[in-house]
């Protein structure tokens, strides 16, 4: 559906901008390759400056990459670089829908005219009649539950309504691809949550292929069919939300999505995907898809909620460490304990019914399939 290969976009570095010729180029997007299937909700996730927005804007045609290839349904939208024919379809000829972070609702138009605009400005040959424009606008406003606001000035809508209006405007031309640039980041927390489900429902019902840009891991995990985690212009890991969460391939991904304890150690034995790792806190037996030969220095990444705390020694003896509770924090729906094991401190998240006094000696159980191995930085 959407294929991106070898996408590169760089800017002149600080020194070059000041007039020096030697300034290094800064890569906003560096050799990004993506393949998005039809009907997917594909998320570009990363901290600010990671290149996710630049990638999205390159797809939109609002940014001109240096080289690479962007195609939608076999139609080349952009192509440049060695061995490639140079193509750059203008943004207004790409036929994509886009929802901006600020929604970019035109304040001098009514709700109806905002949505009608994309139909009105089509090239002469493809333009539809006034009646049909009206019908189509009303149909999409109906879906977005905005029909009764059609004649209102667009600025007289609430935040959530403006978001739906932006979506209606993007969808009215029935685009092949919908681009969403942090559409929830301008809303308050409660509204954000409800609109997240709303967005997911609409995307499923309409079956529209969408590219979603966000820096919010919860949004990414809950909405997406696939996530590409980006950093410094590169895709760090690509996969389904659960895979990425459970098997982060790097320390960065393990830290950026959810939170993790990192325990340094080295691989002492391996057979297939079963590993034995010696750490500062003790020995670990685990299964991991990572490829680490024996002797490699590694970090074991362990999610706080994967740690089980008990005061009695667990019956099966595998991966059990002993420690002392340092600090305890009640979070409402969970309780965090910081447990000291020698020089190492681990954060363990438990259900609220588990609550241990600081100073209590505890046993920590680490399930073999809940520990990931990531390279040390």
């Amino acid at each position: 559906m959407l294929e991106i290969s070898n996408l590169v976009k760089s800017y002149a570095g600080e020194r070059a901008r000041r007039g020096g010729s030697q300034g290094a180029r800064v890569f906003a997007v560096n050799d990004v390759n993506l393949n998005v299937e039809k009907g997917e909700m594909f998320t570009l996730l990363g901290p600010s400056g990671c290149g996710k927005t630049t990638t999205l804007r390159s797809i939109a045609g609002l940014e001109k990459p240096d080289s690479g290839h962007i195609g939608v349904k076999g139609r080349t939208l952009f192509s440049a670089g060695a061995g490639r024919k140079t193509v750059n379809v203008a943004a207004n000829r790409r036929g994509l829908g886009m929802v901006f972070q600020s929604y970019a609702i035109w304040p001098h138009m009514t709700v109806f005219h905002n949505v009608a605009f994309p139909l009105q400005v089509r090239p002469r040959g493809q333009r539809v009649g006034k009646n049909e424009i009206e019908q189509r606008v009303h149909r999409v406003l109906e879906v977005m539950e905005l029909r009764r606001y059609a004649e209102r000035p667009a600025t007289k809508l609430s935040g959530g309504q403006q978001q739906r209006l932006a979506l209606a405007r993007a969808l009215v031309i029935e685009p092949e691809l919908l681009l969403l640039d942090e559409p929830l980041s301008n809303l308050d927390a409660k509204l954000r949550e409800s609109l997240r489900y709303e967005l997911k429902r609409l995307q499923r019902e309409l079956g529209i292929t969408s590219i979603y840009v966000t820096h919010d891991q919860i949004e990414a995990l809950s909405l997406s069919s696939h996530i590409a985690v980006m950093r410094d212009g590169e895709v760090m890991q690509l996969g389904k939300p659960r895979d990425i969460y459970e098997n982060p391939a790097s320390k960065f991904v393990a830290e950026f999505i959810g939170s993790s304890n990192f325990v340094p150690g080295h691989v002492v034995g391996r057979s297939g995907d079963t590993y034995t790792v010696d750490t500062q806190a003790g020995r670990l037996n685990l299964t991991s898809a990572a490829d680490m030969p024996a002797g490699t220095e590694v970090s074991a990444a362990i999610r706080p909620e994967s740690l089980e705390l008990t005061t009695a020694r667990p019956t099966d003896g595998q991966n059990v460490w002993e420690g002392v509770v340092g600090t305890r924090a009640f979070l409402g729906d969970a309780v965090d304990h910081l447990v000291r094991i020698g020089k190492i401190e681990l954060r363990a998240r438990s259900l609220p019914n588990v609550s241990l006094e600081p100073g209590t000696e505890v046993f920590i159980k680490l399930p073999a399939d809940k520990v990931s191995l990531v390279p040390i930085d």
Partner: protein
């Protein structure tokens, strides 16, 4: 004073708990605290500066100066004489023409600068400080050298093609040309701000909807800019209407009058028609006030256009392609026309023994004699000294007063603070010449013997630039969290200590910026000084004016170069200090 407010505790310990002044407890003598004293004085001074001139203007207009009886004779003379219809037509023509010219030039430049990849972007801002460093009087004189029918250089150059006197600067068109160009940098800065504050994604989303660049410009960009365009047209129209130098230097000679030059003319011919001049001044004031009110309503209406704004991704500038070089040439041309040519003309003239067209002979006769003569001329050194003293003292006075006034308006809950705000902004609508006339009314009748001294100019400048000082002070006050003051108060500091030790240091950058701005604009003030100065006590801009009236163009040019040099130094100090010298010039 502290004795009265906080009764000294009895010397021996333990200290008795202080009883709070409850409702039942009354003091026998009410002695104001320093805070109330300071605030009171500031309030009274601001009210005095803002109200008294207007009151005397009305009195001087409606009451006969000898019989002291109510009269409408002034209005009758001013608005019903044969020329008054033409005067008003000229005023409207001149004001709207200049506003439109500056709008077309300023908006196109702003669009090119903000939205396209046009070359020479640095030149724009160099050109935009021109109205600040080259006062209207010098700019106008430079254009006389360039386009007067008999000595104009441009006419001379075009003579082989179009015959003598192609352009006549002494006409309404000439006035529009000079005023419009002089205003265009201000419109430019205004529109740059408008273009920049617009959320670029509004245009990008239109592009994504499939609209072409032209459609986006026509259906999104221009409609969204409409409030800004309307507001700047209004402001520029009012400015042109209030402008004195251009119509006085270019119009009076040919008998083309507008409001300001007509007022000046009526006061300079004997017998002086004070009632008539006052009537015109009130008319002008009314129009200016109306313009300001309209502008205020417009900018309030524009707020309805504001939507959620995002992080504002810097949009990719429009690539001009082959038009890039055309735009580049246009910009160089604009820069040459508005900056280089007038400045070259002034410098050239200042080096000649008498004005002549550029030729081999002219260049060989060049000398620094005019500058040497300035040193000999006692008037010139006095004028420079007076201008510097007046600039520095009005800047200091205004900023001190306004720092306190801003505190009252922004921070305090004192009743009447809204009124104080309004009063401090009121002089903004008073054209310089009208203020000059009003102060003339005040101090001709008042027993305070400052008429004919430079101190009356100080009062004029303080009044005129009070609104600007207020704007600087209020803006910087609003940027300081009130918690900083509160924490100082909780630590035990008195109001004055908080003000002096916490607020003032934090306000300093903003106050300094305001100080320099007021120094610059006072240094070059002409339109109110022209009615208030007395000979022997000239200031620099008046001296330049006198040289023009006496036809001493070479001395004028030398004085002008000195003035521009001083202003350039001041403005570059301001830029060095990082002060945003706004270009709200007079």
């Amino acid at each position: 004073m502290s004795v009265a407010t906080t009764p000294a505790p009895p010397a021996p310990t333990p200290r008795p708990p202080r009883t709070p002044p409850g409702p039942g407890r009354t003091r026998r003598f009410w002695v104001p605290t320093p805070k109330i004293l300071i605030l009171g004085v500031v309030g009274i001074v601001v009210a005095y500066l803002a109200i008294v001139p207007l009151w005397f203007l009305i009195q001087g207009t409606f009451f006969d100066s000898t019989s002291n009886l109510f009269t409408l004779e002034g209005f009758k003379r001013a608005y019903t004489d044969a020329q008054s219809f033409e005067m008003m037509r000229n005023s409207i023509w001149f004001a709207i023409g200049s506003a439109v010219l500056s709008l077309v030039v300023g908006t196109s430049l702003a669009f090119l600068n903000v939205r396209t990849d046009v070359p020479f972007k640095g030149l724009f801002f160099a050109a935009s400080i021109i109205p600040l460093v080259v006062p209207g009087i010098l700019y106008t004189v430079a254009w006389i050298f360039l386009a007067s029918p008999d000595i104009g250089l441009v006419n001379f150059a075009l003579e082989p093609i179009f015959g003598p006197g192609t352009f006549n600067i002494y006409s309404v068109w000439g006035m529009i040309w000079v005023e419009g160009l002089h205003l265009s940098p201000i419109t430019f800065l205004f529109m740059v701000a408008a273009f920049r504050s617009q959320d670029p994604s509004l245009e990008e989303s239109a592009l994504m909807s499939g609209a072409s660049r032209i459609t986006v410009l026509r259906r999104i960009t221009v409609p969204l800019l409409r409030p800004a365009i309307a507001a700047s047209t209004l402001i520029m129209t009012v400015r042109a209407l209030e402008s004195f130098e251009v119509p006085a230097l270019l119009g009076l000679q040919e008998g083309i009058y507008v409001f300001t030059s007509k007022i000046y003319f009526m006061l300079r011919t004997y017998p002086q028609d004070l009632n008539g001049a006052g009537a015109l001044a009130i008319g002008l004031l009314g129009i200016a006030a109306l313009g300001m009110v309209l502008e205020h309503m417009l900018s309030r209406g524009a707020k309805a256009y504001q939507t959620v704004t995002g992080k504002g991704f810097r949009p990719r500038p429009i690539e001009l392609g082959r038009w890039r070089s055309v735009a580049g040439i246009a910009i160089i041309g604009y820069f040459f026309l508005t900056v280089i040519l007038p400045m070259l003309m002034l410098i050239y003239t200042s080096l000649l023994p008498y004005y002549q067209r550029p030729s081999g002979k002219a260049f060989s006769s060049m000398t620094f004699q005019n500058y040497a003569d300035l040193l000999e001329m006692s008037k010139a050194t006095t004028a420079l000294k007076n201008s510097l003293i007046l600039g520095a003292s009005s800047a200091t006075l205004v900023m001190v007063l306004m720092a306190i006034a801003a505190w009252i308006v922004v921070r305090s809950h004192i009743p009447g603070r809204k009124l104080l705000d309004l009063l401090s902004f009121a002089p903004l609508v008073i054209p310089g010449l009208v203020l000059g006339l009003s102060l003339q009314f005040v101090y001709l009748r008042s027993p305070i013997p400052i008429y004919g001294t430079i101190w009356i100019l100080l009062i004029a400048y303080c009044t005129r630039y009070m609104p600007y000082g207020m704007r600087y002070a209020v803006t910087s006050m609003q940027q300081i969290s009130s918690e900083l003051e509160e924490s100082a108060a909780v630590s035990g500091a008195t109001w004055w200590q908080v003000f002096r030790r916490v607020l003032l240091p934090l306000l300093m950058p903003g106050l300094l910026a305001g100080w320099i701005y007021i120094f610059v604009v006072s240094f070059r003030e002409l339109s109110s000084s022209i009615l208030l100065y007395s000979s022997g006590n000239e200031i620099l801009s008046i001296l330049i004016w006198e040289q023009f009236e006496n036809g001493k163009f070479t001395t004028l040019a030398a004085l002008g170069v000195v003035m521009v040099a001083v202003l350039m130094v001041l403005v570059s100090i301001a830029y060095k200090l990082g002060a945003k010298v706004g270009l709200q010039q007079d």
